[in-house]
């Protein structure tokens, strides 16, 4: 029950255990007395002697004051631990990563310019601060094992911080309802040990990981960046047009023009999706991925889209 993933998470769980203990005590105390009275004073007959008790001032004072003191203790303990959960330790270096939430994927941008989708790559034992913003509706960034959560909103930056104790993988959930595929807006935190992190920061690869050929890398990006949530590869109409046989076909736009879908249109649609929308699809659905993908990644995605053919 106690999370050991970060130092603060363990302290949050101590607060939780303290409160659970309090809850268990009062739950058992109240209901034990209730059930005892129910059994002890159950009706034996119409002539039962009944005490004419209307109340007791002393008792009222006691059971007002004691809960007051107890909730103040819980409140105080909660605020003290929450302050450390919320605010990164003062005077220590923090590694800052930008987070963007958009329907229905997460993207991360690192200080060295690298970007990832749905996978947050962080070094172990380092204070990580996430500066978060939404490209569309409200989302919420939740890492259960770290006991951290903060909404990701379009009108302002929000932040959270954590310091993972061990290398490993942890779930990321979106916890603010954001439309159709809210429940598939999932990600992973990958906490890397020092060697692996150094290598990833330099090359973008895990130790032992090979550079994927363009087609495979394109497919991987198509999934990880969340394209697949709205663009099917089997001809089914989702939020956006299917990618099946998309490349090379002539598409009518909603402004009356028509255009053959080529490399340039794909890049334009990824970076500036509002410029040309295929007729029959609503505007304002796709977020911009401008600045989130390198030229080489864009080219790999094009290679993949070209390959999605019905034959």
């Amino acid at each position: 029950m106690i999370s050991d993933a970060t130092e603060v998470a363990a302290r949050v769980d101590m607060v939780q255990i303290f409160i659970f203990g309090m809850m268990a005590f009062w739950f058992i105390a109240c209901n034990a007395v209730l059930v005892y009275f129910m059994l002890r004073y159950r009706r034996k007959g119409p002539d039962d002697k009944v005490a004419n008790i209307k109340g007791n001032h002393m008792l009222e004072i006691v059971w007002t004051v004691i809960p007051c003191i107890l909730v103040l203790i819980i409140f105080y303990y909660g605020v003290v631990v929450w302050k450390d959960l919320r605010v990164p330790p003062e005077g220590e270096p923090v590694y800052e990563i930008s987070v963007t939430g958009q329907k229905w994927s997460w993207s991360f941008k690192y200080p060295n310019g690298a970007t990832t989708g749905n996978e947050l790559i962080v070094p172990v034992g380092t204070n990580i601060k996430l500066n978060m913003k939404s490209a569309d509706v409200i989302h919420s960034f939740f890492i259960p094992e770290f006991r951290v959560k903060e909404d990701v909103v379009p009108s302002q930056y929000t932040y959270m911080w954590f310091n993972a104790k061990y290398a490993g993988e942890y779930n990321i959930f979106c916890t603010e309802y954001c439309g159709k595929d809210h429940s598939h807006m999932l990600g992973k935190v990958k906490v890397l040990d020092a060697d692996n992190w150094e290598n990833w920061e330099k090359t973008g690869l895990m130790l032992g990981e090979e550079i994927l050929p363009p087609l495979e890398n394109g497919e991987k990006l198509f999934v990880k960046r969340g394209c697949k949530g709205c663009h099917s590869i089997d001809g089914v109409k989702l939020v956006g047009p299917t990618m099946l046989d998309a490349y090379g076909r002539s598409a009518a736009f909603d402004d009356g023009q028509s255009y053959t879908i080529d490399d340039n249109y794909i890049v334009e649609s990824i970076k500036y999706p509002e410029r040309h929308i295929v007729a029959g699809y609503p505007r304002g659905q796709m977020p911009s991925f401008d600045g989130q993908l390198s030229d080489s990644e864009l080219s790999d995605i094009i290679t993949y889209i070209k390959s999605i053919k019905s034959e």
Binding site: Q16, W26, L34, I53, K54, G55, I74, W82, I138
Partner: protein, 537 residues
């Protein structure tokens, strides 16, 4: 019904649509409200069963993601706006308030029927959102309508919010009517401190209805204007602030929780002394704690925004204020339990519901503690832990009290008795099904399962499966319970004027009561809870 007693004409006569629809009688209006809210309880309950059926297994089985989102939205919106807000006040409240204070009717009978018509209009407008294809026009925003999603969703946001806006007026009219009735219509001798506690709880809830509902009305109107005219209040794209919507929405929607629960507490306070044959313990403490809860309820909405990007100062201030609600709530629980002390307690079905309410409500209240605490709420926020917590207050609290109250006053309302054995079976089915549904939700919520998920990771399957099995039992219970009550209306044994031996005024008139409630205005000489007093016998 006409065979028994020719000397008075019960309010249920004359029959016929015209006679009911144009009535200004508070008892008939209460019943029409009851039939209406139970209809929506059925629909919204079936939506909940649809949600739980889909969640038996991960992946898509019955509905796609949009279909799932529509189901939980309809469940929430219908339950909140059409069932549980009118809930106890508009049904039992309307029926009982004038009877309990010895009045012939509420202060403004015509405003009372207007409230019902406005409710029907609002309900029709909400249902209007279902015209059109489910895939693109059925509402999918959740009952909370968070912006900017509700601004850009292609579904029927406008009919539902407009409907909720209209329903707000029905709620305000009822609240205002009750406040004036309690101030002006009490029978001679019915002083404030002789009033039944149900009346005190209605009074407290009415204050919230009148003061908080206008805020949600403004909020929903602004949302409609945002969608129609793009005025840029809530839309970040136009420089608006979506968090402002959350603040305004919860400024109403947290106090509204107490519109739902306060009258439920009042019902329990009526049932306990009758079946314990003993005065209520701590009358004034219970009465004033209702008012205290109503007052404090206006200052705690920020706990819905603990992780929304609100300033760190606001977070801990709202945490402190939220804990303030715990005190009057705890006082009530202790006094209810104290009422049984040295009593002569019998366990007919209304009493089972009242004791069941106390048991379930202690869970509801205590699980609120880690949600009010900042350090722990960050983790629990928007998980199934919260879902379970508020269902313990809403279903375990309000619905259990409503059903218990219906069993208690059913003989008064229809002059007929239900089958006691079936009623007890119904209670235990509900009690077991309800706990089986929501205890697993506490566990998986603590493990990090987010709410409003159409699909989930395999690690949560066991708890989801258990919860879904529980939900089916929970659903079955209502068919037993209401089947029995409906049977009683037609086939039940005739009830005497006062089958439970209550001292409250509504039992001192025939069952069902005559149209004018009392033959002559009663004069009150003592408080309502004089059980065990020698002179009362």
């Amino acid at each position: 019904m006409a065979t028994e007693n020719k000397e008075y004409s019960p309010y249920l006569e004359p029959k016929g649509f015209y006679n009911w629809f144009w009535t200004v009688d508070h008892k008939r209006i209460g019943l029409m409200y009851l039939y209406s809210i139970l209809f929506f309880f059925l629909i919204a309950g079936l939506c909940a069963l649809g949600v739980r059926a889909e969640l038996f297994y991960p992946g898509e089985q019955i509905v796609d993601h949009h279909g799932y989102n529509v189901l939980f939205t309809l469940h929430g919106a219908l339950m909140v706006f059409l069932f549980i807000v009118p809930g106890i006040p508009a049904t039992l409240g309307n029926f009982l308030l004038p009877l309990m204070i010895g009045a012939k009717d509420v202060a403004f009978p015509r405003l009372n029927i207007l409230s019902y018509w406005v409710y029907v209009l609002g309900a029709l407008v909400v249902l209007g959102s279902l015209i059109g294809p489910p895939g693109s026009s059925w509402l999918d925003t959740g009952w909370t309508f968070y912006t900017p999603y509700s601004i850009e969703s292609s579904t029927g946001v406008i009919p539902v919010t407009l409907g909720a806006f209209i329903l707000g007026f029905a709620s305000i009219l009822t609240g205002m009517n009750f406040i004036v009735t309690i101030h002006r219509m009490r029978a001679p001798g019915m002083t404030w401190h002789r009033m039944p506690l149900f009346v005190w709880s209605l009074y407290s809830a009415s204050l919230i209805q009148v003061l908080a509902t206008p805020v949600v009305a403004i909020t929903l109107l602004l949302l409609i204007m945002e969608r129609l005219l793009g005025i840029g209040i809530f839309s970040a794209a136009m420089g608006g602030d979506p968090i402002l919507f959350e603040n305004m929405f919860w400024f109403y929607s947290h106090p509204v929780v107490y519109i739902m629960i306060l009258p439920a507490m009042g019902v329990v306070a009526e049932i306990l002394p009758v079946f314990a044959r003993k005065p209520i313990f701590g009358y004034r403490a219970i009465a004033y704690s209702s008012l205290a809860i109503a007052l404090v309820s206006f200052f705690v909405w920020g706990h819905h925004l603990f992780v929304s990007g609100m300033s760190n100062w606001s977070r801990w201030i709202f945490s402190l204020l939220t804990f303030a609600v715990a005190i009057p709530t705890a006082i009530k629980v202790f006094n209810w339990i104290g009422t049984l002390y040295k009593g002569s307690v019998s366990f007919e079905s209304p009493m089972l519901y009242a004791c069941g309410f106390i048991f379930l409500f202690t869970i509801a209240g205590l699980t609120g503690l880690p949600l009010a605490t900042l350090a722990t709420d960050v983790h629990l926020h928007d998980t199934y832990f919260v879902v379970a917590h508020f269902h313990y207050t809403m279903q375990g609290g309000t619905v259990v009290a409503l059903v218990g109250g219906l069993h208690f006053w059913w003989p008064k309302i229809y002059g007929r008795m239900f089958n006691e054995t079936v009623a007890q079976v119904g209670f235990w089915t509900l009690f077991i099904g309800f706990n089986a549904t929501f205890i697993p939700q506490f566990i998986m919520g603590y493990q990090g399962m987010p709410r409003r998920y159409a699909d989930y990771l395999g690690e949560f399957h066991d708890m989801h499966f258990l919860s879904s099995v529980g939900a089916m039992i929970n659903g079955l219970a209502y068919f037993i319970i209401f089947g029995n009550l409906i049977w009683a209306v037609y086939k039940g044994k005739r009830a005497s004027a006062n089958p439970y031996g209550s001292l409250s005024l509504e039992w001192q008139t025939p069952s069902p009561p005559p149209l004018t409630n009392f033959d002559e205005v009663p004069t009150v000489t003592d408080w309502t809870y004089g059980y065990g007093d020698e002179q009362k016998a």
